[in-house]
Structure formats: C-alpha cells, structure tokens
C-alpha cells in the first residue's frame, strides 16, 4: 500500500532540488495512468468518472522525483558521472480545460505549481507544455522568489524544432534553401524563434498569426536580415503554397491546411498538445512531432513513471522546454535562460544546444501519431527502448 510513498517520503526533505519541471497531463488517459501509479499495483485503478471528479481538486504538487544523468561526467571519468536531481510538479490542469475559457484558472494553477517549486527549494524551474504558453509573456505573474529562477525552456524547444526540420528535409532529400517555410503561430515565443533561426536558410518565409501588428514587426526584423517574408492572419491570404510547415500553435482541425500547403509538405507539429496526425486529407504530408529531445545519460523517476510522464515511443524523451531546465541544472547554470516573449535568437539557441549536447541531450528520433518516421535507426531505438 504505502511502499512507494514511504520510499519517496524518505527522500522528501533530504534531497537537494536542482531543478523542477512544471507540467500537466494532455489527456484523461494520461491523468488516469498517473493516478494508477500513485495508487500502486495492489489497488485497482480508479474508474474514469471518479478520476474526472477527483483530479481537478488536486492542488499543484510534486508527483515524483526525477534524476537526470550527464555523459560529461562519465567522459571525464568521474565516479558515477554528473547528475542533477529534481521534481516533476503537476499543475493538475484538467485535460479538458486547456482552452482559452480556462486561462485565468490555469494561470492560477501554474502559479501554484511555481510556488510549490520555490518552497521545495528548486534552483531552476522549467515551465513545460501549456505552462510556458500561459506564462511566457507574464513572468510578473509568477510568485515572489528568492533563489529560484524560471525558464520557459523555449530556446531548446526552438533548437529541437529547427534540428528536426533540417533532419526531415535531409531524410526526404529536400534542399531547405529552396523551401517556402510557413510558420503558424509565428509571433509566439517559439514561432518567432523558429522564424529567426530558419528564415535565413530558406527561400521564403510565410508568417501566420492572429495579431497583425506583431506580424509586421517580426516581418520587418527578418527583412532587415535579408529574409523574404510574407505575412497573413489567415492561411488563405498567402500567395504561395508552403512545402515546409511549422505549426507552433495548435489548430482545432487539420483541415485548415487544405489547399494552402503542398501535398507532400514537411509538417512539424510544434504545438501543444500535439494534435496533427496523418489522415486521408493530408495523406502525402510528412508530419512529425517537433521540439523533443532525448537524454542519453539516463533519466529516472521515483516512483517509476517511465512511459507515463514521458509518453513517447522512445526512451528518455522529453519536451525541449523541460530538457532546457535539466541541461542548465547539469551545467550548474542556474539562470533564467528563456524569459519573456520574442527574445529567442539563433545565438541563444545555439548556446543552449551546446550546453544540452555537452550533457548528452540531443534531438529525439522523429515520430508522429502513427509511430517513428525515420526508418532503420528509429525502429531499432524504439525496439530496444525501455
């Protein structure tokens, strides 16, 4: 009954908290799995209707301890290698409350999770998934903190999106320099960061977002660097079809794409939650989930949440935003690396990529809702993954 609880209790107050990861569950299935682990194998899982009754009442709190290993220590021959220890803190946003109607309630939950991280003494906190979207332009809404710094983690997310796009182009034999890149959600932190990193590499950039003023400002910035840019608040307004697409804002329906992208376009789903999937209407599109990285130095959870908190077809994969906090913790660089909106530059992305790579955190194998999209190596990794 209380074995796992007791085991964690023993660690509760003793462990130094290098980092905290603030996240939430994307689906009721995921929420049910989390509660099932907490209940333990001796008890039957809670019925779905009970989960929906109980879950929204849970105050933000740690769910498990996380330990991440670096390859840096082992290369240097240090005993046991460099490790960083932290907490995964769930804000317990109900999976069906991710919409705009619940914005204030969700910000309050993220604030609660942030307060929990501060109280736990976390040195650096990554805001995962929807948490960073909620807070990225509102850092002043985070609680008062003393020795805790916060990062949205968006710089490493951008890094992995850009790496993924380039890798997918290479896998598909496309010359990225001849591509027309469409970014949906272009003025957000992630979207604008991708535009700055990839704009100089492609033939033309199509920027789509809801706010025309922000679009114009971003376009002017890119044009000053010699990037050919077109902007629109609706996809139907663009004069050309895109063959590479980054969706940095989740769309309600993939049908919005129809007619506005090339049939065999490369599509990076960088939104949250990831809801694009190959279907009959987009059969030719090469869709992959972007912004994900893999820890090669090992990642452990206590209690064991492997495959539950990181629901990916490959081992030790996590969102770039969370990995940024872990990489900085391994580097012992407790600084608010990514803050605010619109400050992600190519230089900053390269800097965090270098830090991550030093500790063995790399782009994850590419996959989508149907499974791995890379043949050969990807399948081997998936088959051997724990």
């Amino acid at each position: 009954m209380g074995n796992s609880a007791a085991r964690v209790a023993g660690q509760g107050s003793a462990i130094e908290v290098d980092f905290a990861l603030i996240g939430h569950q994307e689906s009721w299935r995921a929420a049910a799995d989390v509660l099932a682990v907490l209940r333990g194998p001796e008890l039957t899982p809670l019925p779905d209707d009970e989960i929906k009754d109980i879950f929204p009442w849970i105050p933000p709190r740690a769910v498990c301890h996380v330990e991440v290993g670096s390859i840096a220590g082992s290369r240097a021959g240090a005993s046991g290698g460099v490790k960083a220890r932290g907490l995964y803190i769930d804000s317990f946003i109900p999976p069906d409350h991710l919409g705009a109607a619940y914005m204030h309630e969700n910000i309050a939950r993220v604030r609660g999770a942030a307060a929990y991280a501060i109280k736990a003494g976390a040195k650096i906190v990554s805001l995962g998934g929807f948490s960073s979207i909620l807070i990225e332009g509102n850092f002043d809404q985070l609680p008062e903190r003393q020795d805790t710094v916060f990062t949205t983690g968006n710089s490493l997310t951008v890094g992995f999106i850009v790496q993924g796009v380039r890798k997918m182009c290479a896998l598909e034999g496309r010359d990225i320099r001849r591509s027309t890149l469409l970014i949906v959600g272009a003025t957000g932190d992630v979207g604008s960061g991708c535009a700055r990193c990839l704009g100089p590499l492609v033939k033309r950039v199509l920027l789509s977002a809801r706010n025309p003023d922000r679009l114009r400002r971003l376009a002017a910035e890119l044009e000053a660097d010699g990037v050919q840019v077109e902007i629109a608040t609706g996809l139907e307004q663009f004069s050309a079809e895109a063959d590479v697409v980054i969706c940095a804002a989740s769309l309600a329906s993939p049908s919005l794409w129809l007619g506005r992208i090339e049939p065999d376009a490369i599509v990076c789903d960088a939104g949250y939650p990831k809801n694009l999937s190959p279907n009959a209407q987009m059969r030719g599109a090469k869709i992959f989930f972007g912004g994900l990285g893999q820890v090669t130095g090992g990642m452990t959870f206590v209690p064991d949440f492997h495959g539950i908190l990181n629901r990916h077809p490959f081992p030790d994969v996590a969102h770039g935003c969370l990995l940024e906090g872990m990489a900085l913790a391994l580097e012992r660089r407790f600084e608010p690396f990514s803050q605010g909106r619109g400050f992600i530059t190519q230089e900053r992305v390269e800097e965090i990529e270098t830090v991550a790579a030093r500790h063995g955190i790399y782009l994850a194998p590419l996959y989508n809702a149907d499974g791995p999209v890379e043949q050969g190596l990807a399948c081997q990794t998936a088959c051997s993954g724990g």
């Binding site: 509760g12 009970e50 109980i54």
Partner: protein, 253 residues
C-alpha cells in the same frame, strides 16, 4: 444511540408545508451537527489528557465552541421548519470517534490534534464553505461563518504541529501516515458518491447524496473540496506533497 442534542432544542415539525429543499437541508444539517458534537466530545476528551492548565482550558473552550456550532445548526433547522437530528453513534462517526479515543488512550496529544484539527476540521472547513456558498439566507451565512471559525482552529494547531514535526520529522510523518489510513479511510467512505456500505444512520430517510444537486451541491464536490483542504493542510505542515498525494489517491472511492 440517542441524539446528544435535540430534546428541548426543537419540536417535531410537520413537514408537509416545507419547501422542497428543506428535507435536503435537514440531512445536511444533521451531518454537520453530528460532526460538531463529535468534535465537542473529542475536545472534552482531549482536556482530560492535557497537563498544562492552559491547554485544558483551551480544549474545553473549543468543546464549548463546537457545542455552540451544533446549536447554531439546530437553530437554522428550526428556521426552515425542520428538526435537526444527530447521531454520534452512527457507524462512520462512531469509527471516527473511536480513532480519536485510541489517541486519547495512548495519551497522544499530537495524534489527537492531527485527527481533529488536520483531518476532521479539513473536512468541516471545506464542506461548510461549499454549503455556505449555495445555502439560502442565514443558513448559508451560518455555514460560512462556522467554516471561518473552524479554519482558525486549524491555524492554531498548525503551529504546535509544525514545531513537533521539526523535532522529529520521520516519526511525525509516520504518525500522520498511520492516522491517515485510520481516519481518512472512514471520511473517504462518508464522502464517496454513494453509501455503498449501507445507510449512514444520520440521514432521515434514504441517502441525501443523490439529491444534493437540487441545492446546487454534489457529493463529488464536497469530497473534492475536502480532500483539497486536507492536502493543503498537510502541505502547511511541511509533509512532502508527492507523498501525501499518493496517500490520497489510495483512499477508497
């Protein structure tokens, strides 16, 4: 068991002319009143194991306060035309009282505070506050103001308990864990959507839970709010949140 409070407090009232929700409020009040009387009995028992005269006085003052709350609930019943029964011997309440008495038998002052102030009061504060939001007129005001008073109790105890935890964290947490399964299991059964183990022996007819929606309440909401308050109280004591979360998820539904 005979009602502890009731005789002389109210007269039996003809229910045929009552508002449709009066019978629901009657059951809600009956549960609240029984809880207050259990609390009064617990504080009285607590006074018997206190060594410090100030602590004795404090416990007796609390007992008196809880009696006052019970009387206030009885009065609210009369205002809406219902007699508010109570049954401190009802199966769930009896088990809760017995859990408290085990701490008394061990002269475990800290255990008593944990049961009464952290577990039972969390339940009272959260559920009274929810009822206070939706109950009409003075009924709502009474529930809300008693919720606020009970919250004061928790804050008072918190200081003592935090000091105790700082003295020996592991022993303290082990004790909370032990009492959690003893007391919170019973509370969770009381707060379950349906009384699967039969009648609670407090509701005057069939179980009130399925009818709560008629007064803009639900058993799920009362349970959720109570467990939330309980987790927050444990957080304030400093217990690790990942541990207490596991405890709560292991409770019966």
């Amino acid at each position: 068991m005979e009602p502890v409070l009731g005789a002389g407090c109210s007269t039996t009232i003809e229910c045929t002319s009552l508002s449709p929700s009066a019978m629901i409020w009657q059951d809600v009040l009956a549960q609240a009143m029984t809880g207050e009387l259990i609390a009064a009995m617990n504080y009285t028992s607590l006074s018997e194991i206190c060594n410090d005269p100030e602590e004795v006085a404090d416990a007796l003052e609390h007992a008196e306060g809880e009696h006052g709350h019970a009387a206030a609930f009885a009065a609210e019943g009369r205002k809406i035309g219902v007699d508010v029964p109570n049954n401190v011997g009802a199966k769930h309440w009896k088990r809760l009282r017995e859990a408290f008495l085990r701490c008394i038998a061990e002269r475990d002052f800290i255990g008593c505070l944990i049961v009464q102030e952290i577990m039972l009061e969390s339940f009272a504060v959260a559920s009274y506050a929810r009822v206070g939001r939706v109950a009409p007129g003075s009924l709502g005001t009474t529930f809300a103001s008693i919720a606020t008073e009970e919250e004061g109790h928790i804050e008072h105890a918190m200081e003592i308990l935090r000091t105790e935890r700082a003295r020996d964290t592991q022993s303290f947490d082990d004790k909370v864990h032990r009492l959690h399964f003893d007391v919170m299991t019973t509370l969770a059964e009381m707060l379950a959507r349906e009384c699967v183990h039969g009648h609670c022996e407090v509701c005057h007819g069939s179980c009130v839970k399925p009818s709560l929606f008629e007064v803009s309440l639900s058993a799920a909401e009362l349970r959720g709010a109570s467990l939330q308050q309980y987790l927050k109280s444990l957080d304030m004591l400093g217990l690790p949140g990942e541990v207490t979360l596991a405890w709560v998820t292991q409770l019966p539904v």
